[in-house]
Amino acid sequence: MTRLLELRRVNAGYGEFKVLHDVSLYVDKGEIVAVVGPNGAGKTTLLRTIMGYTTLYSGSVVFKSVDISGKRVHERVALGLTMVPEGRGIFPNLTVEENLLAGAYLERDKSKVRERLELVYSIFPRLKERRGQLAGSLSGGEAQMLALGRGLMTSPMLLLVDEMSLGLAPKVVLALFDLVVKLNKEYGLTMLVVEQHVKNALEISSRGYVLENGRVVLEGDGRSLLSNEMLKKAYLIY
């Protein structure tokens, strides 16, 4: 397997406020990797660091064997990396469809854009119903679907998803996990997800990291983490 992403002893944070301490992790091509941890552990900060939103004090972020530590966010996106942000970050004054089209901003081939649009609509039929509505007036769950859909429109090599199933109805969550597996298998989409459904997430992941207070305290493949007693207790995996 080829290494897609690697973080080497990363220290990062906001201004003077350091959040991540010596975090190292990697994602191989074709993997689904889960990051779990309590509130305020630094999961969001981790993803934001990979995208280049935070201050990196030391360490490096390597993507496709290129050190991207100095690159700006949109340059990282152009390399095939994108994120579905926490809090969704949809464009409230654009319609649902415009949001999705914005996702395919870098794609020049119009037919490919159409194809992807159809794919997203088939995954989230709800969005198709609401295609002309301003995204700002969507319900919480609809907005989450839109954020995910828009992430897929970018067609990245590696997709980072923060709080993937946040606010989605149970039925949709179940479908979503199936979908992730499907996208991973059929389209070879590699993902790094932050997820509160720890069990489901670890079940579909090849590997997982546990983050606490800005440090990686545990890592391993999905199955072994699932059976880790400490984790079981701390995260109430049933």
Binding site: M51, R72, I90, F91, N93, A102, Y105
Partner: protein, 291 residues
């Protein structure tokens, strides 16, 4: 005056108002674009028009060509100037408190005014014989060439702008950036570049407006103050980012101003702004506001 006379008077004033409004629309368009996309409260807009009008005047008198022609020569200069201003002044205050932006842009306004004052002196400067300086008398009505021209160019440019924003990818990117800057980056949108382009295009619109102005009037260092607030009011009435709305609201302002002139030209702006008050009370986010 007879009833017919009154009717003619009103019709003429409305006509004047429509033309004036369409001119205001083009003056405000740059502001609308910059505010709509970058959410920058630019109080130096009028002063940018002023500086640009000086450029037009310089070229016109130097080459002895019509302001509309020199305007074409000025546009590239303004484009570059726009890039520079964006990079140096606007970028650092993006997303900051609105009043910080006001402070910086008011500062910019002061700088521009006084550079103009120092360099061009205080005398108004105008091009004496523009091509479109005649008027047409049709029955009791007067139609001014320069106004018809500026209205036509304004409508055309605004139409193109509207199409550009709603139809093109860059337009979509601009609107996306307005909505959520950091998410836009996640689409691979080079936000910095979009901003620079926006400001530069805004400056081109400013250039067009100044060219049309120099076809009719003169420029002096404080010309900007005549345009700043009224442009803002047009943009606010229209509602954010709505170009079509801008045309409508600018025409309303133009008519209000022209009718206000009938009461007394000294208080015409009071009429304009009173109408602005009432409209905002009932449409707090402007006519065509999406938010």
């Amino acid at each position: 005056m007879s009833v017919g006379g009154v009717l003619i008077a009103i019709l003429q004033q409305v006509m004047d108002g429509v033309f004036l409004g369409l001119f205001y629309a083009i003056v405000a368009s740059g502001l609308a674009l910059i505010f709509g996309v970058m959410d920058i409260i630019n109080f130096a807009h009028g002063d940018l028009v002023m500086i640009s009008a000086y450029f037009v005047w310089l070229i016109s008198t130097y080459l002895n060509i019509d302001p509309l022609l020199s305007m074409l020569l000025v546009l590239p200069v303004l484009f570059v100037l726009g890039l520079a201003i964006q990079k140096g002044l606007i970028n650092p205050v993006l997303g900051k408190e609105p009043l910080i932006q006001i402070a910086v842009t008011v500062g910019l306004g002061f700088v521009l005014q006084n550079i103009a004052l120092g360099y061009f002196k205080a005398e108004p400067r105008g091009y004496p014989n523009p091509v479109f300086s005649e008027g047409l008398s049709i029955g009791p009505f007067v139609i001014y060439e320069s106004k018809v021209l500026s209205a036509a160019i304004s409508v055309l440019v605004l139409f193109l702008l509207d199409q550009f924003l709603s139809r093109t990818k860059l337009g979509l990117a601009m609107r996306a950036v307005t909505d959520d800057r950091s998410s836009a980056m996640l689409m691979g949108i080079n936000v910095g570049r979009v901003y620079m382009l926006t400001f530069a295009i805004g400056m081109v619109l400013v250039g067009i407006a100044s060219g049309l102005w120099m076809e009719m009037g003169q420029v002096w260092p404080y010309l900007g103050t005549s345009f700043s607030l009224v442009s803002w009011v047009a943009v606010a009435l229209a509602g954010l980012g709505s170009i079509r709305g801008l045309v409508v609201s600018a025409v309303i302002i133009g008519i209000a101003e022209s009718m206000g002139s009938l009461i007394s030209p000294s208080v015409k702006m009071a009429v304009v702004y009173l109408i602005f008050f009432f409209i905002l009370w009932f449409k707090p986010r402007g006519f065509f506001a999406k938010r």
